[in-house]
């Protein structure tokens, strides 16, 4: 290749780079901008399902990704006063944290607390609305763990027979797993719980993964027999016929609550509010179950999990949002001390 061709190639490349789509900020007021911790496909399905259900049509832009990265981007946008996000979808603790720091959300007057499960209910007018649950289970590989040996409680995981078999997401890289840490160190009392639980678990040499996706694949491959995993990460592999199943911990079920919030300064606030209200309707909850693989929150639901347990029979444990903010540094420090 001659230097002239190299220069030509460079010029074409620079032109291609500069011809990037116009920045989203210049489109202010146009499409509904959605920031979502769910999959992109799921989030787009949600917006399409809403349009199909209501007959409304509108354009949208979806930015989906790991919640931690989305929040890092959004915090910088909000600090500079440049955000045009119209609808946020992520776990409730993260939404509330953003709200406490940036006074972000619009009160959603059209959303009624009567529509949802008592345990999730709120007083008055909501700013962040729960629409689906990701329930923690003890996922296991059926080729590695016999039905009779499957763990049915967190305490079971401390058994020597599970040496090198247990995996869970690391609180240093996953925000969702804080539900489990809160439940076992704060909510549960007496032996073997509290931080001693994780000290004892450390003797079983657990693997801490970067997130729940990596954990799902470890259990499917049989590299780890058991994973402390959310139901939304198990549904699709079970549908495909992977050799995995799950049980619910008898101590209680840490639960991650997915919700939505409408930024007061965002574009299309009214439309976003209608979408949030729709999420609690029958059609919306149908998408929650079949589209997002989450557990419905509607009060009238008689939801049954794939392995046969009824939602009503579970003792859901919802994380204390203040704990996440208050104990953040402490939990990280304790966890680091464990893994030394």
């Amino acid at each position: 290749m001659s230097p002239r061709n190299v220069a030509l190639l460079g010029a074409i490349a620079v032109a291609l780079t500069l011809s990037a789509p116009p920045p989203s900020l210049s489109q202010s007021g146009e499409p509904l901008s959605v920031l979502s911790g769910l999959d992109r496909e799921n989030t787009e399905e949600l917006l399409q399902a809403y349009q199909a259900s209501t007959g409304e049509t509108f354009e949208y832009e979806v930015q989906a990704g790991p919640t931690e990265d989305l929040i890092a981007h959004l915090r910088i946008e909000l600090a500079s006063g440049s955000s045009d996000v119209g609808l946020l979808i992520m776990a409730i603790p993260q939404l509330q944290l953003l709200d406490s720091q940036f006074d972000l959300f619009e009160p959603l007057e059209s959303v009624s607390p009567d529509a949802i499960l008592d345990t999730l209910s709120f007083d008055g007018i909501a700013e962040t609305v729960p629409f689906g649950l990701a329930v923690y289970t003890l996922m296991y590989n059926t080729d590695k763990i016999a039905e009779g040996d499957k763990p049915t409680s967190f305490a079971d995981l401390l058994d020597e027979k599970f040496d090198n078999q247990v995996g869970l997401a690391s609180p240093m890289t996953s925000a969702n797993v804080w539900n489990v840490f809160w439940f076992l160190t704060e909510e549960m009392e007496g032996e073997p719980y509290g931080w001693p639980f994780f000290e004892a678990l450390q003797e079983r040499q657990p693997t801490y993964t970067s997130g729940h996706g990596a954990l799902r694949d470890l259990v499917i491959s049989g590299e780890r027999g058991i994973g402390i995993q959310t139901t939304d990460n198990i549904a699709a592999p079970m549908d495909r016929g992977e050799s995995v199943s799950y049980s619910f911990p008898s101590e209680g079920v840490p639960t991650s609550v997915w919700g939505a919030g409408v930024p007061a300064a965002g574009d299309n606030a009214e439309l976003a509010e209608r979408i949030v209200a729709w999420l609690l309707s029958d059609d919306g909850q149908d998408w929650v179950v079949n589209g997002a693989n989450l557990v419905p929150v509607s009060a009238g639901s008689d939801y049954t999990f794939k392995e046969g347990t009824r939602l009503a029979d579970l003792e859901l444990k919802l994380t204390d949002v203040d704990y996440v903010e208050r104990e953040r540094a402490n939990v990280i420090r304790q966890f680091q001390a464990l893994s030394r």
Partner: protein
């Protein structure tokens, strides 16, 4: 060339009309330095300030917090040890392979070169997952096989990918590739007269290689070491998947989970300092540039050594590289991408094309491939152009403080992508840039890529220039050429292979970049790496879908290589 000579070149002695004319060359070179500063120093200023300030006043409080935290201190020591291991092992292993490719009759040269390029563009987190399937201590296929062959009673091991050795095994192919792309072009440019003189003086072939050839390419070897070392300092995907405590992982945790920007800034500063120490070592060991000049006024054509049976030893080493870096992980990737359920194994009723159909029919993924291609070519070309100009200033002029440009280029390389992505985003949202609305565009992603990888342009071009005697460009200048003409007509043609190497290497490095991209991307600016993550993560995700996309990318890249070769062959025939 002495400093006095350089000074005379830097301040031409001509008088009269030329002095009054607008000096385009100087403007272009100054612009190159400005671009370098813009993409490297400017984004780091706000973040670095946070490391040493609190509410506007100077403080060492955050530094003290770092020093008092044993976990963070250990992550810094781990990072140095791991990066040093990768740098040294990469340089040592790449030397004989590079020599084999450039100067011998070793078979399978193309296989090794293509393997090196593929190993650079392969997404680290997917290769790690594939290797967990192979070397996972509980159920890894190779471990199960070894336990059976050795009659071991244990259900654990004997190999463990979740170890320091596993980390090195997964990172080493990329490090070797970086060194190969530095050393091979340098070996190809050596004046055969020097080696011939050694042989005439009675030295054996081995003595000539040891005493003449290798010392002459020392800057390239050291450059490969520095790049492999520094890139390892900032490497994130593989250590994170293996749960290692290194700086890139703790920086991400501090930024995204603890939200402690000040402490993250201190950790970022530590990463940068570690990288800069390596650059300083390089500067010191290659300070006498004229010792490495190997292209003077004479023409050069690389002499080829006949290795005899040793050629098969080198080829064997190349095959081992191919098997470990490409064959094993991609075999897992490709086979699994056709399985509906990976745990049910390779059976007829478990085969599916579902994951490929989705990729082909969804425009989201086509856009991702187009965006990644655009960014790879754009970043590669920009790094090459700016790198050549800055490299020229460092190697060929007497500009005061020019050696600082080398350090400047390396500033972001040692940083994890997350930290540099945040730094670039902070810059994009600071006034006066905020009004430009750069957030979420391909431009801002490309800007970050160029900043992060510009070191490859600057370093690669310096290695190339260090081998070319300045006498050639001096002759051109005396004949009346200006600096740009000298660069365009004399320097660039001689170092053409090095420039192409920069374009391909940076393009390949940019392709799988994830941790910066995920912070900077917006709607419509998805790349292959973010699309891979989307396919994998979350409730609807699956590893097979991500494997399918990665396999598709392998096919596309191989097809592009074949097309490139066909075009080159057609030209040669003409």
């Amino acid at each position: 060339m002495t400093d006095a000579t350089r000074a005379s070149l830097a301040v031409p002695g001509r008088r009269g009309p030329r002095k009054a004319r607008f000096n385009v060359s100087a403007v272009v070179l100054v612009l190159a330095v400005a671009v370098l500063a813009l993409v490297t120093v400017v984004p780091l200023v706000p973040m670095t300030l946070r490391a040493f300030t609190n509410d506007g006043s100077l403080t060492l409080e955050h530094v003290s917090a770092f020093l008092a935290d044993p976990h963070l201190m250990r992550s810094a020591f781990n990072t140095v040890g791991y990066s040093l291991a990768i740098g040294v092992a990469s340089a040592l292993l790449a030397m004989p392979l590079a020599f084999g490719i450039a100067r011998t009759d070793m078979p399978l040269k193309k296989l090794l070169t293509v393997s090196a390029l593929i190993s650079v563009f392969s997404p680290g987190f997917l290769i790690t997952i594939a290797y967990i399937d192979l070397l996972g201590p509980n159920n890894g296929s190779i471990n199960v096989l070894l336990r059976g062959l050795l009659g071991l009673e244990t259900t654990f091991g004997p190999l463990d990918i979740y170890s320091g050795l596993g980390l090195v095994l997964l990172t080493l192919p990329g490090g070797i590739a970086l060194c190969l792309f530095q050393i091979v072009p340098a070996l190809g440019k050596i004046d055969p007269g020097l080696e011939a003189a050694s042989r005439i003086a009675g030295a054996s072939a081995w003595q000539t290689v040891r005493r003449v050839t290798l010392p002459l390419v020392r800057p390239a070897i050291l450059s490969g070491f520095v790049l492999a070392f520094t890139l390892s300092v900032g490497s994130y995907g593989i250590p994170q998947m293996l749960g290692m405590n290194v700086l890139s992982v703790t920086i991400r945790e501090t930024l995204l989970i603890s939200f402690n920007l000040a402490l993250a800034a201190v950790l970022a500063a530590v990463s940068i300092v570690i990288g800069l120490v390596a650059v300083a070592g390089y500067q010191y060991t290659t300070r006498l540039q004229s010792r490495f000049e190997v292209v003077a006024g004479r023409g050069s054509a690389g002499a080829s050594y006949t290795l005899g049976p040793w050629r098969y030893v080198l080829a064997g080493a190349g095959v081992v590289y191919f098997v470990l870096a490409i064959l094993l992980p991609y075999a897992v990737l490709i086979v699994s991408s056709f399985l509906e359920a990976t745990s049910r194994g390779l059976t007829a009723d478990n085969l599916t094309l579902e994951f490929y159909t989705n990729l082909v029919t969804d425009p989201y993924y086509r856009t991702a491939i187009f965006n990644s291609m655009t960014l790879a070519v754009g970043t590669g070309a920009t790094c090459a152009v700016v790198g050549i100009l800055v490299g020229y200033i460092i190697a060929r002029t007497a500009m005061p403080g020019r050696s600082l440009l080398d350090y400047m280029a390396f500033l972001p390389l040692a940083l994890s992508g997350t930290a540099f992505g945040i730094a670039v985003l902070l810059t994009a949202f600071s006034s006066p840039l905020r009004w430009m609305g750069l957030s979420g565009t391909l431009f801002i992603i490309g800007f970050a890529y160029v900043g992060h990888y510009i070191a490859f342009g600057v370093r690669g071009s310096q290695v190339a220039f260090s081998q070319v005697s300045a006498q050639l460009s001096e002759a051109a200048r005396i004949a009346g050429a200006n600096r740009l003409q000298t660069i365009g007509h004399i320097e660039v043609p001689i170092v053409r292979n090095a420039i192409l190497s920069i374009v391909f290497l940076v393009g390949a490095l940019v392709f799988p970049e994830l941790s910066m991209t995920i912070i900077l991307t917006g709607s419509g600016t998805q790349t292959v790496s973010t699309a891979l993550l989307e396919l994998w993560r979350g409730g609807g995700g699956s590893i097979q879908a991500a494997y399918a996309m990665s396999s598709l990318m392998l096919v596309i890249v191989l097809a592009l290589m074949v097309i490139g070769n066909l075009i080159r062959s057609a030209r040669t025939v003409r």
